[in-house]
Symmetry: C2
Subunit: 355 residues, 2 copies
DNA sequence: AAACTGTTTGCACGCGCGTGCAAATCATGT
DNA sequence: ACATGATTTGCACGCGCGTGCAAACAGTTT
């Protein structure tokens, strides 16, 4: 029987066998590369820095040495030593909206292709927003990006009160808060375009389906639509509000709003704050009310999610220039300025069959 | 007129005015809290550590001081100093599949609620997988999680060759690679259940719609289905492959596979590797072929994405226990073991109207 | 009261790299 | 060959915290 414990014999040998050279090759640092390349450590790090002052041959020599040793610079240490981390936090709370996946893709693509890493923070619930912001700040992020709905003035105050927030960016949503940077589509212009389309197509009994209300950051769509409609026809259009951007919930709310009405009192067009709602509305019209889209009730969305294109929905909607917006976001990150960075973008209407 | 420049006078005063105390309040460190609370810096950090050896009163005093100063521990520095970062990288390449959004939500929820942060890395294209892995390693992640399709043996070799990968987890997909940890649904059991359902419902002319092929990580669904069918009926069922998990593309492929056939040669059921494909297939059956689901052709999916429940699709599908899988993933992260961590989970069939 | 045990606190050193400047090297013109 | 300016390289110090151990302290027993 082998002596497994050290009780009846010297355990030292055993231990040495068990741990010969544990992870002798896992921490290749710039120093190691430096001796291999015959330069100083600082030169090694320069070789990996974008436009550092280093001669091409030295850089080549260093890179070669680094590759043979398997060295890559440690961004974690770099972040600690400098004031920049090239890291941003992305706070999301609204995972029911399929458009979020598109936004995530576009944002992470733009960020990564320009050297930025993304910390994805799931804002678990309403109360968790402030902790989530704290969490982000603990990782020394250069900016925090909000793409959701659960943030109000109080939360923003917390965020801005906490230090280390170099930039607080509200993406795809308009904020009046002077301390945040808002990168969004021009909701008023977009809604104007939608409203004119609705009017021009001859619809006269619109129902507006809005999403949840927020305090600090707005989609001005509903208000703009109401104003335009009132200016033109003297009446405020009907509207209902859905507590989440969730097709399933929109379905229920739309059903409650529409069932039991006779044909004359039904709307002839339903304008939705976004596609997530619109898809649910279309389903309700067809499968709960047994009516046709657009013949009985037309539907208009916003965002142009992938499914909007499917032959099943063929949703008329409005597309935000997400790629452009994402690229501008990276511009903002790289800009030394801290003010006057807000920007609105113009999207384009996508006319399909639903209206 | 005031002397604005230092040209005709001592500029020192001016400078001091311009920069009184620039950002004197942005870097609150543990040392600051230490003097405020009358303890050593180490005690301060202990107060913020889960089960550190510290007396309750001292902790309370420190926390109070910390709050009034707005201090939070710097995880970036903590990661540098220790061997753990409580950070994982999540590599995603497959943003067309709506199920990814669900997975992202479940994973980030489980991770964050147990103190882990998530680095979301968008694997831009096939060639970018290795750089993406490198990128992750540069941030000292404790583990890298792969939830996508674009990784083959070569890429895994690169990943495993690079150091600093404590754990390489393949989520929702089975891998045979002994150096990875695979957390997935039991595809064989699931497919068996699906196949038996198909047989029991009397379908006899199945078409299998598979996704892209990968080398290292498999969904064993197609193979299992084929085997079962052959064992039972002596023939290998028809199948087609879609290059991406994308409803739009599945639509096209399905159309090519089905159009021009007469009723007798059409399949009576289409079994899809996942819902992303199934949704496209349903659309094709209805809107391109003008047939009914399930009366003319039944459809079965996999994943139970949110839309599967919509009255429009009512998709019969198979649900993975994502929450359970995500929690197990965190268990794995927190486990000191490095082997024998693979695990398969049983999901459950969700029978709706499409089959 | 002394001795003992278990708990709490303090500290030297290092994690890997950036900043800012000084020293060294190179390229060019006379 | 020498001076001049431009480019390249080296280095002291610090970023904020963790590890592991030793010192100090509190609580209990004889």
């Amino acid at each position: 029987m082998l002596t497994e414990t050290g009780l009846n014999g010297p355990p030292i040998v055993n231990r040495m066998c068990a741990v010969p050279k544990p992870d002798s090759f896992d921490n290749v640092t710039a120093d190691d590369v430096a001796v291999a390349a015959g330069v100083s450590r600082w030169t090694v790090n320069r070789a990996f820095k974008k436009d550092a002052s280093i001669s091409p041959k030295t850089r080549a020599r260093v890179i070669t040495a680094a590759q043979s040793l398997g060295y890559v610079p440690d961004l974690s240490a770099a972040a600690l030593a400098s004031t920049r981390s090239n890291l941003v936090a992305l706070l999301v709370d609204d995972f029911a909206n399929p458009h979020k996946l598109v936004m995530l893709e576009r944002l992470t693509r733009a960020l990564r292709s320009r050297g930025w890493d993304t910390l994805l923070v799931n804002t678990l619930d309403r109360e968790d927003t402030a902790p989530a912001l704290m969490n982000a700040s603990q990782r020394r992020v250069d900016a925090t990006i909000l793409i959701g709905i659960q943030f109000d003035d109080e939360v923003l105050a917390t965020a801005l009160g906490a230090r280390r927030f170099k930039k607080l960016i509200i993406f795809a949503r308009t904020s009046q808060n002077p301390n945040t940077i808002s990168i969004a589509v021009d909701d008023e212009a977009a809604t104007r375009e939608i409203a004119h389309y609705v009017i021009q197509k001859g619809y006269r009994r619109p129902l507006y389906v809005a999403g949840p209300e927020t305090v600090s950051a707005h989609l001005l769509r509903k208000e703009t639509f109401a104003t335009i409609w009132q200016d033109r026809f003297g009446v405020v259009p009907d509207s209902v509000s859905v507590a989440r951007y969730d097709a399933m919930l929109a379905e229920k709310v739309a059903l409650e709003a529409l069932q039991g009405r006779d044909a004359a009192s039904l709307p002839d067009v339903i304008v939705c704050e976004n596609d997530a709602l619109a898809l649910g509305v279309v389903d309700t019209i067809r499968h709960r009310l047994g009516l046709r889209v657009p013949e009985d009730i037309a539907v208009i969305g916003f965002d142009d999610v992938p499914q909007a294109e499917s032959p099943n929905y063929r949703l008329t909607t409005y597309r935000q220039p997400l790629t452009q917006m994402s690229n501008y976001l990276v511009d903002v990150l790289e800009s030394p300025d801290t003010t006057n960075l807000d920007r609105k973008f113009l999207g384009s209407m996508v006319v399909r069959d639903s209206a």
